[in-house]
């Protein structure tokens, strides 16, 4: 296959305009979706309804780890309004967000891996009937030993939660070194060590996940869903349903918050599509708040150990960071999260020599995944606490310790990350000034304190999940006879304002009014976007 070459960058960008030449960008305007959102007109997935629509519920595992011995739907099938069931046998092909972790099934096929893992889907005329029928489905399990922590995963390579991964119940192991860490430690006046733990947490978007699937023909299906990543859902649907991608349409409804929690393709989305194709009727599933916690994909709990070489004046000479991630029952974005716990440790302060080891364990709990900043806030918390302790020990003001060794602008870090501008110094100075730091730090009464911590994140997605040479995102414009412009874009509005930004850019460049633009977003018939990796669309 011929290689597809990306167009030259300058051909895409054109001549940049200066701020003075811009008409709309940089000037406040009401969000293009503002009125709909304050009048209740925004149509979230659960607000949709179609003729003959039926409702689906999932029967979820009640054991944390076990083999499925028998599923009995006879009693449930006799209940009023019940239309049909699906089990894992109907969709045996695995899926997952990352090519290296295709470890999920739309419904568990032979074993369950956490309390909440879906086993049976049931459809009925009303939501109440589906709920009652789901309660009547009987599933017999043979329980397996529960692996509930990273420590247990290390100690018990068997029984394996998955039949893949780097070792036993360790999903991922990695070790990296940049610079000469041993020489850095040898040079140091003092070496500091700390062990810290970051408890996991979840996104808690106010909107519970919801999906509506409807068929057009026997083998064409449209899926409306509260998803941040319609293109990856599209890919998973095509794979599991064994349909050509051109016969599947995924429309991401405006999300009632996502924060990363709607970035994976989900089992309920695939089940809804399969059930719609089976029954030939629109199928809706809206998760309860309890089920949202089962979907999870929240921030990984991380146990971390930092060892840092420091000169008497506070200068860092080397760091060895070790992280252990509690990944829960599935891969999700976990391999990426694992790298993320180490990748950005070098970006704030000049750290010439850096070693990073990490493991991600499978445990019998709801799967962890991407949440705002992915795997970076956990080691950030660790590093900043560690730095404060170093500053205290050396008798250096914690603000000064940071200010004196900022990573320089226009530099490359030890682990080959490019730093453009560096505004952190001015930021710290402003905080020191504005907070009365010099007068108050360490001098407040018992129980009161003033602290300072810094963080950084990368801007712009480095790579799409499936590497290719095509542009990562784009828009198509369609000019109609009325003078209006339709904008087709794959970006998903999740509250970050992407609709407004896209409309403003188009209006700015074409010299037209915002009100003459119609948006057709978050639909794979539009050009793809890497995903609403939350506010990234705006950068």
């Amino acid at each position: 296959m011929a290689e597809v070459k990306a167009p030259a960058t300058d051909a895409l960008v054109g001549t940049p305009r200066t701020t003075d030449e811009l008409r709309l960008i940089g000037t406040p305007f009401r969000r293009v979706d503002g009125r709909a959102k304050v009048t209740g007109q925004t149509r979230f997935a659960d607000d949709l309804s179609f003729p003959r629509m039926v409702h689906m519920k999932l029967v979820r595992s009640t054991v944390p780890h076990g083999k499925i011995i028998e599923i009995d739907t006879a009693k449930a099938a006799a209940m009023p309004g019940v239309l049909g069931f699906l089990t894992g046998l109907a969709m045996p092909i695995p899926f997952g967000i990352l090519p290296v972790s295709q470890d999920e099934h739309a419904l568990c096929v032979s074993k369950v891996r956490f309390v909440g893992d879906p086993v049976v889907a049931v459809a009925a005329l009303t939501e109440d009937q589906a709920y009652e029928a789901a309660l009547a489905v009987e599933i017999e399990y043979e329980s397996l030993e529960t692996i509930s922590t990273v420590e247990e995963a290390i100690a018990n390579p068997e029984p394996r939660i998955h039949d893949y991964g780097d070792e036993g119940n360790l999903h991922k192991k990695l070790a990296m070194e940049f610079g000469n860490v041993d020489a850095g430690f040898a040079e140091a006046d003092e070496i500091f060590e700390d062990t810290l733990y970051f408890e996991g947490n979840t996104h808690l978007p106010m909107e519970q996940h919801s999906t509506v699937a409807l068929t057009e023909e026997t083998d064409r299906v449209t899926v409306y869903s509260s998803t941040q990543t319609p293109h990856y859902l599209h890919r998973s649907l095509a794979k599991v349903l064994e349909l050509p991608a051109s016969r599947i349409r995924v429309i991401a409804c405006p999300n009632g918050g996502g924060f990363g929690g709607k970035s994976d393709p989900f089992n309920h989305e695939i089940c809804a599509a399969k059930m719609a194709l089976t029954l030939g009727r629109p199928v809706k599933i809206t998760l309860s708040r309890e089920e949202v916690f089962y979907c999870h994909r929240g921030r990984h709990p991380v146990l971390m150990h930092l060892r840092t070489g420091v000169m008497k004046d506070g200068r860092l000479t080397a760091q060895h960071l070790r992280t252990a991630l509690d990944g829960g029952a599935y891969g999700s974005y976990g391999v990426a999260s694992t790298y993320y716990t180490g990748a950005l440790q070098t970006v704030t302060y000049d750290l010439p020599n850096y070693r990073f080891d990490s493991i991600r364990a499978f445990t019998n709990k709801p799967p962890c995944g991407p949440k705002r900043g992915h795997g970076t806030p956990q080691p950030r918390f660790g590093f900043e606490v560690h730095l404060d302790k170093i500053a205290h020990s050396l008798g250096i003001d914690p603000a000064d310790l940071r200010l004196q060794q900022l990573a320089p602008a226009d530099s490359v870090t030890a682990n080959w990350l490019q730093i453009g501008s560096m505004g952190l110094g001015k930021c710290i100075e402003a905080v020191v000034e504005g907070s009365g730091w010099r007068e108050r730090h360490g001098k407040l009464p018992f129980g009161r304190g003033l602290g300072l911590a810094c963080g950084s994140y990368l801007s712009g997605a480095g790579l799409p999940i499936y590497w290719n040479h095509m542009p990562q995102s784009g828009v198509q414009l369609q000019l109609d006879r009325s003078g209006g412009v339709a904008v087709f874009c794959g970006e998903t509005e999740i509250g970050q304002g992407s609709d407004s930004v896209i409309a403003a850019i188009v209006a700015e460049i074409l010299g037209i009014d915002l009100k003459d633009i119609r948006l057709c977003v978050a639909d794979p018939i539009s050009p793809r976007s890497t995903s609403a990796a939350t506010p990234r669309a705006l950068r």
């Binding site: 940089g26 000037t27 304050v38 009048t39 209740g40 925004t42 659960d46 978007p205």
Partner: protein, 183 residues
């Protein structure tokens, strides 16, 4: 056995609507499913998050915990009734202009809670607004923009022409009588 069905005539946004629904259904379910008023959202259906707030006889009520059968003959107000003709209520305009509605999912509940509050207190302090909205969760804004929007709406409602939201709060349309300023 099929669910017993209730029939009620509900007063919603000043209009009488007769509906039949399973007797155990909540006001939230009847508003969304029987009346197709999907502007009222659900966040937990356990009375924790405030997302489903509507007004019943002028008071904020969690519609997920209120049975529809108990609302017969009472005045129910939802976000769909907030607009005045084709114009936004000052609360709606302030929320749209100050970026207080991001994903917009918690917004209807917060607007209704704020409406009831501003009818009792026309010139509230920041602390009073925060307490009035203490039962409503928002995950996008960090609340500051919501508090600023309620204060701005309060000023618009009481005709206070002196009050100005902080310059940093302006995301939307320029203030009356002012040219838009570049950010």
């Amino acid at each position: 056995m099929p669910d017993p069905i209730a029939t009620s005539t509900l007063r919603v946004n000043g209009e009488s609507r007769t509906v039949a629904y399973p007797v155990h259904h909540t006001l939230l379910e009847v508003l969304r499913e029987e009346l197709a008023l999907t502007g009222t959202k659900h966040g937990c259906e356990l009375g924790e998050c405030g997302t489903c707030t509507v007004l019943v006889d002028g008071k904020p009520v969690l519609s997920c915990l209120e049975l529809a059968v108990e609302c017969e003959g009472r005045e129910i107000e939802t976000v769909e009734g907030l607009q005045i003709g084709n114009e936004l209520h000052p609360l709606q305009a302030a929320f749209a202009d100050l970026g207080a509605a991001q994903c917009g999912y918690c917004t209807p509940g917060i607007l209704m809670a704020a409406k009831a509050f501003l009818e009792e207190n026309t010139d509230p302090t920041r602390q009073q607004v925060a307490e009035a909205l203490g039962g409503n969760l928002c995950r996008c804004t960090g609340y500051h923009k919501i508090l600023e929007a309620v204060e701005w709406a309060a000023a618009l409602l009481r005709g206070d022409s002196e009050f100005r939201p902080p310059r940093s709060a302006i995301y939307g349309a320029p203030l009356p009588g002012e040219e838009p300023q570049r950010g």
